[in-house]
C-alpha cells in the first residue's frame, strides 16, 4: 500500500475495528498482530521478505503510541528488543534469515536470561531462494538457540500467531520465534481483524545477577537446566490455553505431516488428485520444541508417513526420531528418500506428484500441460535508470585503467545491496558479494594473503553502518593498502527505502541525530578521504586512479541520492532523447551504461523509453556523436 498515509480508519490495517475483513499481505497482518498483542517496541533491520512489518507500522500506525524504528543492524535490534522486554515491555524484532546470523550471539544468551515482558522475534526464511544469499533453514537455529518457535501457514495465522507468540513468551519468560517463509510474508490474503490492545511498556527491572550476568559459570549451568524445563512446558501451555496451532485434518492410514505454507499445497494437491479419504494431514504450527504428544497421538495407526516441508528435512528427522523412540517402524517418505527435493521451494504440482506416488493415484491429465515457447532473452533485474551506482562503477572501471592496471588484475569486492546488480553485463563490475560488510574485510584479507596488486572494496552507506565500520577499523589498524568506496545513496534502497543513521528525522517523524559518514570514516583514521558526486565520472575516475597508487587505506564516498527516491521526491525534471539522424548506431551508450530505459529500435539506432528515463545523462556521456540531447520538462 505504498504511499497511502491517510486511509480512512475503517480500512487502515492497524486501526480498523475488530471483525473487519481486509486484503492484507502477510507482513501487514503481522503488523496488525503486533497492535492486537500490545507490543510497544518494534525494531529490526530491513531484509526481504521481512521489511514490510515495520514499514506498515510506520506508515499506518501514527499516534498508536508504539516505538517503531529501524536499528543499525540485527544484533543491535535484538538487543534493543531484549532490553525492553527484560524491563517488562512487549517487544518485536524483525529480520530476514541471514540477519539471524548477525544477531545470534545475544539470541543464544537470551535463552538463558529469559525475559519479563514478551519478546517475539520474526525470522523470515526464503525457500527458492527468491531474494536471499542462501536457503538457510532457521528451524535449526531454533533448535540451536533453544527457543520456542511457531509458524503460520497464511496471512490470517500470521496475524493471529503474533498473539500466540506474545502469550507463550510471557508464560515461559522466554523469547519466542515467529518463523515465516516468503510465501507467507508476501502473500496477500483475506484477514479478519481482532481487537487491539494497549501497548505494554516498562514495568521495572530488579537486579538479579544469576539471570542477567553470564559471567558466572555455575549460574549458566543452572539457567541451562531452567531453560530445558521451560521448553518441556510449551505444548502443555498451548493445550491449557486452548490454542490449536497443531491440527489434524481427515483420517486414514496414510499420514502427511506438514507445516507453514506447504500445508496449503498439501490440501490443494489432495483435491487435485481427488483424494477425499484415507489420508490424515497433520499440520504442525509448533516447530520447536516439536509437539511430541500431538505427533504421537496424530500418527497412531499410520501405515506410512509422508513429510512435506520446504528446505531441510527438519520435521522428517523429528518424526523419525519420535517414532524410533516409540518403537514404531513404518515407512517415512520425504527428502531423505528423494521423494521431494532438498532445495528450492515447493508448489501444488510438486506436492501432487509426490503424493500421487505414495498414495498410488494418478495425476490428472489436465496437469500435464507442456508448451514450446521461443527462446527469450533473460531479464535479470538491472540497476535502475539514473542509478548513481552505475556512474560509480563506470568511474571505478575507468579509474583502474587510468592507474595503469588491467581490469582483470584489480578485484572489486562487492557487498549486500542494489549495487550487487553491477555484476551483470555490460558493467561486469563486482567480483564478490558475500555477507554484510565483507567487501572490506575480504579485500583486506586478500592483501594480507600476499596479493601485491591493488584491491577495491565497494559498500553501500547502510551496509557500511551495519557491519562495515569494524572492518574498516581493522584495515586501518593493520596498515593495509586498499581503496574503499562507500556508495552513499543516503537510504537503504534495495529493501524499499528505509532510513539510515544519516537521517535527521526517522520515518515516524522522530528527530534523530544525523551521523555523517565522513565523520565516522575520518574518526577511524583512514589515510585519504574524498567525497565525490559519481555523476562527475571523469573526476571520480581520476580520484580512483590517484588513490589506487597511493599507499594506505583510502576512502571515496560517492554520494548521490537513489534515483527512485529522488524521482519520488522531486519528479523528473528532464529526460534524454536520441536524435536518430545523428545516431550512427554504434551502441556505445547502451553498451556503456546497460540502462534499461534504452533499447535498439527497428532501424538499428539507440532509443530511449521516455517514461523510464530519469535524466541522468550518462548515455550522452558515452555518445561519440553528441546525438543524445537533454529535453527539459517545463
Amino acid at each position: 500500500m505504498a504511499g497511502v498515509r491517510d486511509l480512512p480508519e475503517r480500512i487502515n490495517p492497524l486501526k480498523a475495528p475488530a471483525g473487519t475483513r481486509l486484503a492484507l499481505m502477510g507482513n501487514e497482518a503481522i503488523a496488525r498482530g503486533a497492535v492486537e498483542s500490545g507490543i510497544y517496541v518494534v525494531t529490526g533491520y530491513p531484509g526481504t521478505p521481512s521489511s514490510e512489518v515495520i514499514m506498515t507500522l510506520q506508515r499506518f500506525g501514527k499516534d498508536l503510541d508504539m516505538y517503531v524504528e529501524w536499528a543499525v543492524n540485527e544484533k543491535v535490534a535484538f538487543e534493543l528488543a531484549l532490553g525492553a522486554s527484560i524491563g517488562g515491555a512487549r517487544s518485536l524484532a524483525t529480520m530476514k534469515a541471514p540477519g539471524v546470523n548477525i544477531a545470534s550471539d545475544p539470541i543464544l544468551s537470551a535463552a538463558y536470561c529469559g525475559v519479563n515482558g514478551a519478546l517475539v522475534m520474526l525470522v523470515a526464511d526464503d525457500p527458492g531462494p527468491i531474494t536471499t544469499q542462501t536457503e538457510q533453514d532457521d528451524r535449526w537455529f531454533s533448535k540451536l538457540a533453544k527457543l520456542p518457535t511457531i509458524t503460520p501457514s497464511n496471512p490470517q495465522e500470521a496475524k493471529d500467531y503474533v498473539k500466540v507468540a506474545v502469550m507463550l513468551s510471557e508464560r515461559l519468560q522466554l523469547p519466542v520465534i515467529l518463523r515465516t517463509t516468503t510465501r507467507v510474508n508476501h502473500t496477500v490474503g483475506d484477514v479478519v481483524l481482532g481487537a487491539t490492545e494497549q501497548p505494554r511498556k516498562f514495568k521495572g527491572f530488579k537486579r538479579d545477577p544469576p539471570r542477567f550476568v553470564r559471567a558466572g559459570m555455575r549460574w549458566n549451568l543452572e539457567r541451562h537446566k531452567w531453560l530445558n524445563k521451560q521448553l518441556e512446558k510449551v505444548e502443555g501451555i498451548l493445550n491449557e490455553l486452548g490454542i490449536s496451532i497443531n491440527e489434524v485434518h481427515g483420517d486414514g492410514d496414510v499420514c502427511v505431516v506438514t507445516e507453514g505454507v506447504t500445508y496449503n499445497y498439501v490440501t490443494e494437491a489432495l483435491n487435485l488428485l481427488g483424494v477425499k479419504e484415507g489420508v490424515r494431514v497433520l499440520k504442525v504450527g509448533q516447530l520447536y520444541p516439536p509437539p511430541k504428544e500431538f505427533l504421537k497421538k496424530g500418527l497412531r495407526g499410520c501405515g506410512k508417513v509422508v513429510v512435506v516441508e520446504e528446505l531441510d528435512p527438519y520435521l522428517e528427522e523429528t518424526v523419525k526420531t519420535l517414532l524410533y523412540d516409540e518403537g514404531i517402524s513404518i515407512d517415512i517418505h520425504g527428502k531423505h528418500d528423494s521423494l521431494l527435493p532438498m532445495e528450492g521451494e515447493l508448489n501444488v504440482l510438486m506436492v501432487a506428484k509426490a503424493l500421487s506416488r505414495v498414495i498410488g493415484v494418478p495425476l490428472p491429465r489436465t496437469l500435464q500441460v507442456s508448451r514450446e515457447t521461443p527462446a527469450l532473452p533473460p531479464r535479470p533485474p538491472p540497476l535502475c535508470p539514473g542509478c548513481p551506482h552505475r556512474a560509480s562503477y563506470i568511474a571505478i572501471l575507468k579509474g583502474i585503467s587510468k592507474a595503469g592496471f588491467r581490469r582483470d588484475e584489480v578485484p572489486i569486492f562487492g557487498d549486500i545491496g542494489c549495487y550487487a546488480l553491477s555484476v551483470e553485463p555490460p558493467l561486469n563490475a563486482i567480483w564478490t558479494e558475500h555477507s554484510m560488510g565483507a567487501s572490506i574485510s575480504m579485500a583486506a584479507g586478500m592483501k594480507l594473503g600476499g596479493n601485491d596488486k591493488p584491491v577495491i572494496a565497494t559498500i553501500g552507506d547502510s551496509t557500511f553502518f551495519h557491519s562495515g565500520i569494524p572492518a574498516l577499523l581493522e584495515a586501518v589498524h593493520k596498515r593495509i593498502n586498499m581503496l574503499v568506496i562507500i556508495l552513499d545513496n543516503t537510504v537503504v534502497a534495495m529493501t524499499g527505502h528505509q532510513s539510515t543513521p544519516s537521517w535527521s528525522v526517522t520515518e515516524t517523524g522522530r528527530k534523530a541525530k544525523p551521523v555523517l559518514l565522513e565523520d565516522v570514516v575520518k574518526a577511524l583514521g583512514v589515510d585519504n578521504l574524498a567525497v565525490i558526486d559519481p555523476f562527475d565520472v571523469d573526476d571520480m575516475a581520476n580520484v580512483v586512479a590517484q588513490y589506487l597508487r597511493k599507499p594506505g587505506v583510502n576512502v571515496i564516498i560517492a554520494r548521490a541520492p537513489c534515483a527512485l527516491m529522488k524521482v519520488r521526491a522531486e519528479g523528473v525534471k528532464a529526460v534524454y532523447r536520441v536524435d536518430p539522424e545523428a545516431c550512427i548506431g554504434c551502441m556505445a551508450c547502451i553498451r556503456g551504461t546497460g540502462c534499461p530505459a534504452m533499447y535498439v529500435d527497428e532501424n538499428g539506432k539507440a532509443a530511449i523509453i521516455e517514461e523510464d528515463c530519469t535524466g541522468c545523462g550518462l548515455c550522452a556521456y558515452f555518445c561519440p556523436r553528441d546525438a543524445i540531447k537533454e529535453v527539459r520538462h517545463e
Binding site: V369, P374, P381, E611
Partner: protein
C-alpha cells in the same frame, strides 16, 4: 454487476518490474475481498525488481476455497500480460483453453540490447501467444493510457479489459480498490484508465458472455 464465482479463479500477471504488475494484483485482491471473496496472491517483492521479470499469481474464490498463494503450470484461467516478452515467458502457466489478454508493449531486456541474447520480433511474440489462444486479446494499452492520462496507467487499462470480459468484480469494487491503493491524482488517472479499458473492450467487441 458482480457475477461472483463458484470455484477458484486463477490469474497470472506477467510484467516487467515498474510497469505496475504488483499494483494490479493488489487492486484485484482488495476488490475481491470487498466483494466477499477469498483471495491469495503470490509474488516476489523486495529485491529491486525494477525492470526485471515479474510474475504475480492472483487467486480468488469462495471463502475458504483458496489456500495456496501460487498455482502451478497449466492452471491459469487467464493471463494478463503488461508486456509481450514476459507474457510469452509465462505461457506455461496458462491452462488448456485459458484466455490471454495482453498489452501490445515490448520492452527489450538489456541482455538483448547489448547483444548477448537474441530478441524475437514483435510478430514472433504475438505469434507465440496466438498459437496458444487464437482469440488472444492484444490491447494497445499504453496508447489508451497515454490518451486518457498517463502511459504508466496501462496496467489499469488492462484491468478494465479483464473485468469487462470476465465481470467477476463489480466496477464499484474495482474503483474503490484503486482509490484505496492510489490516493490523490494517481488514483483519479488510474480510474480514468480503467474506464478507458472497459470502453476499448466494448468498442472492439472482445466481450465474452
Amino acid at each position: 454487476m458482480s457475477r461472483g464465482i463458484k470455484e477458484v479463479f486463477n490469474i497470472l500477471i506477467a510484467s516487467v518490474g515498474g510497469q505496475g504488475g504488483l499494483t494490479l494484483s493488489r487492486t484485484i485482491a482488495i476488490a475481491a475481498v470487498s466483494e466477499g471473496l477469498s483471495v491469495r496472491t503470490g509474488e516476489t517483492l523486495g529485491m529491486s525488481q525494477r525492470f526485471g521479470s515479474v510474475t504475480s499469481f492472483v487467486r480468488m474464490g469462495p471463502q475458504n476455497a483458496v489456500m495456496s498463494p501460487t498455482f502451478s503450470e497449466g492452471m491459469a484461467h487467464v493471463m494478463v500480460g503488461l508486456e509481450l516478452t514476459e507474457s510469452v515467458r509465462n505461457l506455461r502457466y496458462l491452462s488448456e483453453g485459458g484466455k490471454i489478454l495482453v498489452a501490445d508493449t515490448v520492452k527489450p531486456p538489456i541482455t538483448a540490447s547489448i547483444g548477448t541474447a537474441r530478441m524475437p520480433s514483435k510478430d514472433e511474440l504475438v505469434g507465440a501467444l496466438t498459437s496458444v489462444d487464437p482469440e488472444a486479446v492484444i490491447v494497445p494499452a499504453r496508447k489508451i493510457a497515454y490518451d486518457v492520462s498517463n502511459p504508466r496507467a496501462a496496467n489499469m487499462v488492462m484491468l478494465g479489459v479483464f473485468n469487462r470480459i470476465f465481470g467477476i468484480l463489480s466496477d464499484d469494487a474495482v474503483i474503490n480498490a484503486i482509490l484505496t491503493l492510489l490516493p490523490g491524482r494517481r488514483g483519479e488517472t488510474s480510474v480514468a484508465a480503467y474506464k478507458a479499458g472497459i470502453k476499448w473492450a466494448e468498442e472492439n467487441k472482445v466481450v465474452q458472455g
